[in-house]
C-alpha cells in the first residue's frame, strides 16, 4: 500500500511561531552575487544578462542598473570576462612579502589572495576603483589583455593563451590581475598536455594562496 504524502507543516500549522520558523527555512540565503562568484570560481564568465534565466538573471540586471559608471566599467569586465579579476583588484595589496619562490610566475604576484568578500567589496564600494586616471587606464588594459587570453582559451587556442599571458606579464610585471593570469596559465598548460608544468604551477599557487577560493579550483590540477 502506498504511503500517502502528508500536507506540509506550513500549510496545516496553527502556530504562528511554527509558521514563522518554517517560513525562515524556505528563504534562500543567496543573492545574485552568489551566482556571479560561483561562476567566477568555476572559471566561467558571468554571461550576458540577456542569457541569464529566472530570478538570478533578474537580480543581476537589477544590480547592474544600480551601478555607477565607475562600477559599470568593472561590470563590463564581469560580463565580458569574469568576476575574479575584479575580486583580485579589490584585494590588491602591494606590501605582501616576497618569498623564496620569487623565480616563479606565482611568486611575482604581489597581490593578496582574492576572497569572496573582496568581490562583494568591489561591487559595493566605489572607492575600490582607482581614482587616478593612469591607474584606471592601466587596470582597464589589464582586464582587456586577460579577456583576450580567456577568449583564446575558450576557443581552444591554448598555445595562443600562453603567448598572450607572457605578453601580459611583460606589459604588467606587477599586474593587479596577475593571480588570475596565473590561473589561466595553469589551465592552458594543462590543456596543451604540459601536465607536469601545470601541476608545478598549481602546487606553488596553492602553497602561496591556500585560502583563496581560486585555490579550490587550482587544486583540481593536483588530483
Amino acid at each position: 500500500m502506498k504511503i500517502p504524502e502528508p500536507n506540509r507543516l506550513l500549510d496545516e500549522s496553527n502556530s504562528q511561531l511554527e509558521r514563522a520558523l518554517l517560513g525562515a527555512g524556505r528563504v534562500a540565503p543567496s543573492s545574485s552575487k552568489t551566482r556571479t562568484k560561483t561562476l567566477a570560481a568555476l572559471g566561467l564568465a558571468a554571461g550576458s544578462a540577456t542569457l541569464l534565466t529566472g530570478a538570478a538573471g533578474a537580480a543581476t540586471v537589477s544590480t547592474a542598473a544600480k551601478l555607477t559608471w565607475t562600477k559599470l566599467v568593472l561590470g563590463v569586465s564581469l560580463v565580458g570576462a569574469a568576476a575574479v579579476p575584479v575580486g583580485y583588484y579589490a584585494s590588491t595589496h602591494h606590501n605582501a612579502p616576497d618569498t623564496a619562490a620569487t623565480q616563479s610566475a606565482v611568486a611575482r604576484v604581489r597581490t593578496a589572495a582574492p576572497t569572496a568578500e573582496s568581490i562583494d567589496d568591489m561591487i559595493d564600494a566605489p572607492a575600490a576603483m582607482p581614482t587616478d586616471p593612469v591607474a584606471r587606464a592601466s587596470l582597464t588594459r589589464e582586464l582587456a589583455a586577460l579577456d583576450r587570453a580567456r577568449l583564446a582559451l575558450a576557443s581552444g587556442d591554448a598555445r595562443g593563451v600562453l603567448g598572450q599571458l607572457d605578453a601580459y606579464q611583460r606589459s604588467f610585471p606587477r599586474g593587479r590581475l596577475a593571480l588570475e593570469a596565473e590561473v589561466l596559465r595553469i589551465d592552458a598548460l594543462a590543456k596543451t598536455g604540459r601536465a607536469s608544468e601545470a601541476r608545478q604551477h598549481a602546487q606553488t599557487f596553492v602553497r602561496l594562496h591556500p585560502n583563496s577560493v581560486l585555490a579550490t579550483r587550482v587544486r583540481a590540477h593536483l588530483d
Partner: protein, 198 residues
Amino acid sequence: MPAHLVIVRDPPPDGVPPGPPPVLGREARLRAMVDQHVNFVARVLRNAGTPDAEIDDEVQRTFITAARRLDDVRAGAEKGFLFKIALNLAAHARRTMARRREVLAEEAPERIDTLATPEALTDQKRMRQLLDGVLDKMDESLRVVFVLYEFEEMNMSEIADVLEIPRGTVASRLRRARTEFRERVGALEGVTNREGKA
C-alpha cells in the same frame, strides 16, 4: 510548487516523443547547473547548519567539487548530486563549528529571547537563529528528510531516490522529525508565554 530531480524542459511539439535530456557542452552544463540550482544549494547548506557568513564560499565549493566529477553525473541527476556534495560540506563545516562551540559553551550559557511579539515573529534573522537551534538538536538522518520535505517541498519518492533509502523509511523519519520539531517549538512557545505573563 514541488521541486523535481529532473531538468524541466519545454514540452516537445505534438506527436514528437520526449527524448533524453539535451547534451550540453561541459561549460554550458556547468552554467545551467549554477543557474538552476544555486538557490537550492544555498538553502540546503543553510538548513544543514552552515552559517550565513560562509554560504557563498560553500556554494562555490559545492559547484567546484561537482565540476570535478561532472562526467560521473548523468543528465537529469544534477540536483541530487549537488545536494549530496552540499550536505557533506555542511557536515564538515558543522563539525568545525561544534569544536568552536565546545570552547564557547563554557563561557556563554544559552539564552532564549522573548518571541511572543509580532515584531519578533517577522524578524527573519531571529527566526532563522531559532530555527537553527531547533534543527541543530535533531538527529542528522531526521533533519535531512525534514528539510527536503518541508523546505524544498520534494515528495517522499524523490527524497527516497536522492538519499537512496526506502520510501517507507522516509515516511517514518519524516513523522519522527515533525514530532520533534513540534515538541521543540511548543517548548519554546511555553517559554515565551511564561515570559509574556511574567
